[in-house]
Symmetry: C2
Subunit: 212 residues, 2 copies
């Protein structure tokens, strides 16, 4: 197969995809079409991974009791985060919707095996965190592919990793990376919800680039 | 602006982009066109980040003395990795080319400010590693956008983080995430070099998906 040539029209559409990928917290309850989740997961095998180790592990969380345990961890961590804030920020934080756990039809918990046999350890000796980084590129792959299908993804990080690992009865040696909610979004937005709600504004990258 | 509708043709091309993104170690010495790097870096501001914190910091490494210090760290770490291997694996490892540091025209070191003011701490209290994860989604964004321009990226992780931070005279509090080589690849491949060289083979994701 000859190498592909990507043209300006594709690059423009790809930029549009980046612009309209959102961290979604408001989902319609409709389930994803049959096969959609498997199709998205299959694309993650194309993500880069340290030493070609493919260390990501995806738990599809459907059991209501397990979901309730994850939700309880979110509630506890969210209450602690709120308690740590003062004044105006506390009021603003309390008004934010930070997870779509109740309405999202699909829940996906992402872990890594921190010492995978696959890859034979290549590239992670001095930087073992690259194993988790590999899972993050897999998540980002799934996120963009989902948005290209009109499916929203929300990343929930206000969780206690050990609580999630235990709720899902997965090996304690695995490292919890992310909890993802997937489903059709209530609406499509070009501006992040945290920006629309006045929590933070995005900056141009100029200030984060340093000549050396 | 109305939300975009992505069609099957775009999704097919996006999948092709994922399939042909490679970790590149063999570069042509031609420089990137003027403005290309800034264009790629500007796209990273569209990557997801915890609490909208945009914690990534990109050092464009041009100074030959600093590049030599980074290369020295790679040499040392690579020699140690080789020394830790036995038999057949050692021979195979020694034959692999694991970095394009000598030929890549553009070097980019990626760091994060682990406690950024921007974002007001949202989402990282129980999972501080999400700050580094945000930088990884920015790297993956740049990686895919580069490939859509025919530009290759190689991620070098066989480095001592403290040595790189020191070589680049950056704050010791920053966390080193990745060292990227950018340039036009010597050739385009659909199969990862580690697979072509017999180090590892990619597996289907079926085995990494767990129902819960």
């Amino acid at each position: 197969m000859p190498p592909p040539d990507f043209d300006a029209a594709f690059r423009d559409q790809f930029t549009t995809l980046l612009r309209w990928r959102r961290d979604v917290r408001h989902f319609r309850p409709d389930p994803l079409p049959g096969g959609m989740l498997r199709e998205l997961l299959a694309l993650t095998e194309l993500a880069p991974s340290v030493g070609l180790s493919q260390p990501w592990r995806f738990a599809i969380v459907g059991d209501p009791a397990r979901r309730a345990m994850v939700r309880a961890s979110f509630e506890a961590c969210n209450a602690e985060a709120l308690a740590g804030l003062g004044g105006e920020r506390a009021g603003l934080y309390a008004r934010l919707k930070l997870a779509g756990l109740d309405s999202a039809p699909c829940h996906l918990a992402v872990f890594v095996d921190p010492e995978p046999e696959q890859g034979h350890g290549l590239g992670r000796r001095t930087m073992p965190e690259t194993v988790a980084y590999s899972a993050v590129t897999a998540i980002h792959t799934l996120w963009l592919a989902a948005r290209a299908h009109g499916v929203g993804v929300g990343w929930v990080s206000i969780l206690e990793p050990a609580a999630v690992t235990s709720a899902l009865d997965l090996p304690a040696s695995w490292r919890f990376v992310a909890y993802l909610c997937l489903g059709y979004p209530m609406d499509e937005q070009e501006v992040p919800e945290l920006e629309r709600e006045g929590w933070e504004t995005r900056r141009a990258t100029g200030q984060t680039v340093i000549p050396r």
